[in-house]
């Protein structure tokens, strides 16, 4: 065949094969949400000790003696031997379905498991076992921004789970995405809620303060994002609208005492001396806890709508307000509040931040987790010039919550647990990092 004819034939082939119709396909893998129903009996049977496991989706942290407890959101708690902060060692993993918060008194670990409050004996962390349980302590809660509820009548937990869906659309080649609908946005919405509402209805906290917070003798220390805290013989938990008290004088038999309605949007609880500071999406409640069984509401410091963990030193409270989460709001701010008059807290000064989450104070150093912007440290000796006294800014990690203990700082984020020596805050020295193993992304294809 002559070359000319060959070229002519070749020229005609594409017309026959493809025509003149553009073919564009958009492929997206998105988080989705679907309902899940669990039975209480099933959940209760799954609390057990397991071999050490990698971090996958770490939530809150808690410290008791040389042990570090890291919540694996909704799955359980990692126990880490932190005798040597430069070389933390995984000890075990306690499987606790529906867990988001924890607190430790003596050798008993209190953890939420959906509707139950579980007491786990950790006198030997490698052989931890369930020692008691307060059934039906809670009725609803939130993980990753997704709510769950419990029907005691049928013993049914109605939960939701995220999964990944791969979808392919034929598009008009202009990047236009068909509107996936409300449920798709729900995935995003849910994610951004993770930081603040990862725990179930209960939350816990102890102090993230390295100083003299007064709490229960033998209790550990939690981060500022916690919803559980211990004081005297009482465990205090906050759900989204109320403060609950449990008598833990009998360590393995927590008994419900009372609850106090706080209105919607309760997020964190922070004990300081004989006071309780409760962060809500609209303000900070201060309770007098000198009679531990009868917390008395003293005042509320109101702010614009945002998530707001709080820590306290002497007569100053430090509150971070954060946007971009289920608490709503559009501010990113650190507020310094004068609480010398507990009945009438007053704003000292507000400082613009990037995306602040958990915080901790080891006076005069205030540590602030800035989400994807890393970790910052400020000298807060001068309350009116905090922003001008930034000591350090660690970047390259996502910082969610932090605990400072003496010279050591433990920070948790989506990248894992980082530990630093902060004896010289201007020269923060990294001691170790427990990384997160990304969970296998299991996608489902839409037919």
């Amino acid at each position: 065949m002559k070359p000319g004819r060959l070229l002519l034939i070749l020229s005609a082939l594409p017309f026959l094969a493809g025509g003149c119709t553009d073919r564009c396909e958009k492929t997206q893998i998105v988080r989705q949400i679907r309902p899940v129903t669990l039975s209480a009996a099933e959940v209760r049977s799954k609390v057990k000790i397991q071999a050490p496991a990698d971090l996958e989706q770490p939530g809150k942290i808690y410290i008791k003696d040389q042990y570090l407890f890291i919540n694996e959101i909704k799955k359980g708690i990692h126990i880490i031997d932190n005798s040597n902060p430069s070389n933390p060692r995984h000890v075990s993993f306690i499987s606790i379905p529906g867990n988001g918060d924890m607190a430790v008194k003596d050798h008993i670990l209190y953890a939420d498991s959906y509707m139950d409050l579980v007491a786990i004996d950790i006198s030997n962390p490698e052989q931890a076992h369930e020692a008691g349980r307060k059934q039906n302590a809670f009725t609803s809660g939130v993980f990753d921004g997704l709510g769950w509820s419990y029907d005691a009548g049928t013993g049914t937990i109605s939960d939701q789970e995220m999964y990944f869906l791969e979808e392919t659309f034929e598009t008009n080649c202009e990047g236009v995405v068909p509107n996936p609908g409300y449920w798709w946005w729900g995935g995003i919405y849910a994610f951004y809620g993770t930081a603040y509402l990862s725990s179930s209805i209960t939350g816990s906290s102890s102090s993230s303060y390295s100083g003299s917070t007064a709490q229960s003798a033998g209790a550990g220390t939690g981060g500022s994002m916690a919803r559980f805290t211990l004081y005297d013989d009482y465990l205090y938990t906050v759900d989204q609208r109320k403060l609950q008290l449990f008598d833990v004088s009998s360590l393995t038999s927590p008994a419900f005492v009372k609850d106090i309605d706080l209105g919607w949007g309760v997020e964190t609880i922070f004990p300081y001396r004989d006071k309780l500071f409760i962060g809500t999406s609209t303000g900070m409640h201060i309770f007098d806890n000198s009679t531990p069984s009868e917390p008395k509401h003293l005042s509320e410091f109101r702010h614009i709508r945002a998530c707001d963990p709080v820590v306290v030193h002497e007569d100053v409270a430090y509150v971070t307000l954060r946007s971009g989460n289920v608490c709503g709001g559009s501010v990113n701010r650190l507020e310094v509040v004068d609480i010398s008059n507990l009945a009438n807290p007053q704003l000292v000064k507000a400082y613009e931040m990037q995306n602040p989450a958990g915080l901790s104070i080891n006076y005069p150093t205030l540590f602030v987790c800035e989400g994807e912007y890393g970790l910052k440290g400020f000298d807060v000796s001068d309350k009116f010039a905090v922003d001008k006294n930034m000591l350090f800014h660690e970047k390259g990690m996502e910082a969610y919550d932090i605990i400072s203990m003496d010279d050591n700082v433990m920070m948790i984020g989506k990248d894992g647990l980082y530990q630093y020596n902060a004896s010289d805050p201007k020269n923060l020295r990294k001691l170790s990092h427990i990384p997160v193993r990304a969970p296998a992304v299991i996608t489902e294809k839409k037919e």
């Binding site: 070229l7 493809g18 564009c24 396909e25 080649c173």
Partner: protein, 197 residues
């Protein structure tokens, strides 16, 4: 891939220059510059969540300009490099290709010729918006045309070709969207007029 193709094109181009002392020496230079339209349509889903899904169709017309620079390898065949610019909707693509022009019938003032360009479309001059990132892709452009003018002189051309251009638009991701990208395959009827000498 695109680096490889660009390298091949540049090698050929520079090789042609270097070889000008040898095989190509004395061979006449030819230029063929064209402007025209890219015509086609697209069918796409308008509501992927409906039962059944609903679809729509849009006609597409875009501007294309290209210039072929080469040497007459034989009395009928020219080989060289084609540079162009195609303004698709939401894409500005600059193809760089190896090209050939072959006179199928060369005895008359109105002559039929074949054209073939194959290369890679780059997106250097496309301004990405909203965190999107457009990546280019392979390009194939065969066709036929008519040249009006006396043999050996400059002439006018009209060409009808099929143009296939691939591209990928990558959209931003976050924790709720692990991946999103649009694989594009433009299949167009390209009608161009031009001048050749």
């Amino acid at each position: 891939m695109r680096t490889l193709i660009l390298g091949l094109v540049l090698c050929c181009f520079s090789g042609a220059q270097l070889s000008a002392q040898g095989f190509l020496e004395g061979r006449p230079f030819t230029n063929h510059t064209e402007v025209g339209g890219l015509f086609g349509n697209v069918e796409y889903v308008t509501n992927p969540y409906g039962t059944p899904k609903t679809y729509g169709r849009q006609n597409k017309t875009n501007l294309t300009i290209q210039t072929f620079n080469g040497l007459m390898l034989t009395s009928r065949l020219a080989g060289g490099v084609t540079l162009g610019v195609d303004w698709f909707n939401d894409a500005l693509i600059n193809p760089i290709a190896l090209g050939a022009r072959y006179d199928l019938i060369s005895r008359y003032n109105a002559r039929l010729f074949g054209t073939l360009d194959a290369g890679y479309g780059f997106t250097w001059f496309y301004k990405n918006l909203n965190g999107n990132k457009l990546n280019g892709g392979l390009m194939l452009n065969p066709g036929i045309g008519w040249r009006l003018g006396k043999p050996g002189n400059a002439g006018f051309t009209i060409a009808i070709t099929y143009k296939r251009q691939e591209a990928i638009m990558k959209m931003p991701v976050d924790r709720a969207i692990l991946r999103q990208e649009e694989a594009r395959q433009y299949n167009r009827l390209a009608v161009r007029v031009g001048i050749v000498f």
